[in-house]
Symmetry: C3
Subunit: 362 residues, 3 copies
């Protein structure tokens, strides 16, 4: 920090910096989409760890550290035979628990050839992974099963974001950026006041009711509403885990056309997984409580959502790049506004989890 | 440094390395061309700091640290309304002094939301910036006003050079490289002896007179001289500031054609601004004391100058890249020649300024 | 290393890491192909040092540190006149011993302007360089002269591999990877048992005899053998220096067609030179003891070899990249197999040489 330049002396330090290793290990993170896991192994960076993922013949998912203990070749370059993954370099074979079961060049199988294997759970559209202490597993992955429920119409997407996961996590829990960053896409420009935020156990929550106003055009088609029709909205957000949060748009049409419903729900879902340093896997979903939406409507909505989320990605990546190149780095104090209630609660949840893992907060 | 290899044990250490933070803060640097500053904000890295620049309705220029104090979004991605710049992320508004004047999500405007703002001055074709202690401002920016004087014909250019600013600064004050690096472009191959160098107050100066010889073809067209006509030259260099230096080519034609002047001046101007680590903004100008030169002559001259300066950029960037990748880095001693008088004086001026700012010299 | 994840606690540390400065200086390394050295100077990174190489009028090779001691310009950007290399920046001239013999801007030639020069030897197709203590030169470069012997038919290639040289060196001395990594190219899938390995003085050796089996299709054409004909093989490897190793395929055809030889030799040659950190120059050669092989056969064989070696390059580069990005870096223990005899001996030779140079092993 330059002595000469008058940087603010008060404010808040980022409790865990965007340039740091700032993710809990003892929790479920999304490793991949279920559909991505086949008998063809893939490599994913998760919590700064290269992980090889593949599907067993019995349908289960295996996940292990993507480095052979012999000469460090990535197993993801190898192939799967039945339950086993075979190293591409010298053909060593490992079972899904990471135990070497065959070293082709010798009779003895070396007992020390053991790869760290990770616990996985498949639920709905996702494969979840627990990278920390297995004995600390105390819960199931968060429930996002509605995404495969036939009562809903669903669309989704994935971004590899070149920004720390906390930037993404706070972004999706802070909706007052919508009228600014997304003024020309979401166009939900009444969202300029802070929502009420609270904790429900360990779940960060926000709630906010809006009076009659046209709904964001992103969601009109999915609900069959004209873009200029005033409706009431109750916005409800919940983050049951640092890995996933939901953003519910409860819409009430006070004057529905004959034969039409008055109430609709669009449930957004935001899933983040730390990848390499300063990179994040970001999975999003958007579902309408309307079965069998027309494919054209879904595609139109999906495209509009992507157009808006591209704006987030662009901004967050510039932020990350700028902070990384700036010698001041994380030493510039943050000022927090009343509207940051949900974001601050995210940080509190994060700090609590890091402290529970004996990690020091910077 | 390898013990085995016989690297020279005598010589000179670079007083402030090319890989280091080696720029004074308490001085005027060029932030941008005047023409670049409009109501559309732009971001520039200056002294390793991201700076947002924009023009107010009253024509003045605003410059501030390009990170919102709230959640660090770059203001340069936002927009300007009147005097104010509006953060792209949550719409916070700042006046040109960096003071937050509106936080749209709340009634109270947070007093701590203050962005460092920088002093600027516009003069001639440039906007200058003072990034250090405002109380230390003790001078106006260097005078380069002839560049907008109708008595002169002017051309200019800009390079983003991937080399430390000192490499560029020394390059433009050391003209004995012209017959070697620019043997096929400048072709001013009589410039092989060291000029006289001296200090005029804090201004580094050199002077050198040359006997009859053809003038560099780069400048013949601008002065209306045939390329093979022998002329006398007095080369005068002045560096009134580390940010800017002039290179005057005073040409005397002892046998002018009837009705033609005997004396001409080409004034070169070299402006450098440290950007990111190991990068430099380099602005150059070349002006003839001939009004209303033909556009074709100007364009031809400009292209020839660029061809020559491309040679400098190429060499300096290779030097920087090689030094950066070499484990010996800056630990290879320099041998100084008699012709380095101006360059050594540059380093003395630099060290004096850094010491005045309490910076340690490595 | 994460406390939580159950990484193996036993195993072997890499004695000299793939991310470190782990090359001896007191030995001959290949600087370039002879054909690459002309009167046009070139720059090569060798042992993390930029080296300029050029050929003198008398045919000898000069090699020196590629930084002018004056202002650090790379001499490789300059030009050669007779024996001398001329700096591109200010025209300083140096003899092949690195001594400045002319500084054009002054009468006195500065005695301190001395560039480290390196000893070179040309032998066969290669120019060798000794970058360490010249007084320690105690041998000639390894003999690879058969590559220019008219009794042999020869093909060769070069790779710039983005992996530490030890990864490449171990790869070419460990042939049990052939049936796995090269299952679809070499197709020499009987090579699944460990060879006998031993030291012959300082030379790492392996030997292995194989019973009747079809020969790798890569080498059938060169020996004029049908791809399905069973032959006997004696595989002999020798590494006389960390810089070079040979892989001899002694093939015995027990039932040659009338008028044909029974015995053939394909001699592979693997030369590595550390380049920049984590990069390696890799030169390979393959020669058949058959004079005047048809150009079509040579080209077909060369292409097949490249296809196979591309598989090594791909895997080694992924390994290096993954290790570099993984915070665990080199802290993941290796398990060694019986088949690693030659590779382990390589490490022993390496450690002995590093210790002789007073380098600490990590």
């Amino acid at each position: 920090m330059d002595a000469d330049i008058d940087y603010p002396k008060t404010g808040q330090r980022i409790p865990n910096g965007m340039l740091q290793d700032n993710y809990p290990r003892n929790m479920w993170w999304v490793a991949a989409l279920s559909a991505d896991i086949t008998s063809q192994p893939i490599s994913r960076w998760i919590l700064e760890t290269p992980v090889v993922l593949y599907r067993l013949e019995n349908g289960k998912t295996a996940a292990m550290y993507d480095r052979c203990p012999h000469r460090w070749a990535p197993l993801s370059e190898g192939r799967v035979e039945g339950e086993r993954i075979i190293c591409p370099y010298h053909g060593m074979q490992f079972d899904p628990g990471g135990t070497c079961v065959k070293a082709p060049t010798q009779k003895m199988t070396p007992k020390t050839a053991q790869i760290p294997a990770f616990e996985t759970r498949e639920a709905g559209a996702f494969v979840w992974i627990w990278m920390g202490d297995k004995d600390a597993i105390d819960c199931d992955p968060p429930e996002v099963g509605y995404q495969t429920d036939p009562g809903w119409s669903f669309m989704s997407g994935y971004y590899d974001v070149a920004a720390n996961w906390v930037l993404v996590r706070e972004n999706v829990l802070d909706l007052t950026h919508i009228p600014f960053l997304h003024a020309n896409t979401f166009k939900q420009n009444d969202w300029v006041t802070a929502p009420e935020t609270y904790m429900d156990g360990d779940t960060v929550c926000y709630e906010q009711e809006f009076d009659l106003a046209p709904l964001s055009p992103l969601f009109c088609a999915g609900m069959g509403l004209p873009e200029d029709k005033p409706v009431k909205r109750k916005q409800v957000g919940r983050m049951p885990s640092l890995a996933v949060s939901f953003s519910d748009w409860n819409v009430h049409d006070p004057a529905p056309d004959e034969g039409r419903r008055s109430d609709f729900l669009m449930r957004g879902c935001h899933i983040v997984t730390p990848s390499q340093r300063g990179r994040t896997h970001y999975y999003w979903g958007a579902a309408f409580d309307v079965p069998d939406l027309d494919a054209g409507v879904i595609e139109k909505t999906r495209k509009s959502v992507i157009e808006a989320f591209d704006e987030d990605k662009h901004l967050l990546e510039i932020m990350q790049a700028q902070i990384s190149k700036d010698p001041r780095g994380l030493d510039y104090l943050e000022v927090t506004l009343g509207a940051d209630g949900a974001g601050i609660k995210v940080r509190q949840v994060l700090n609590k989890k890091l402290e529970a893992e004996g990690r020091s907060l910077s």
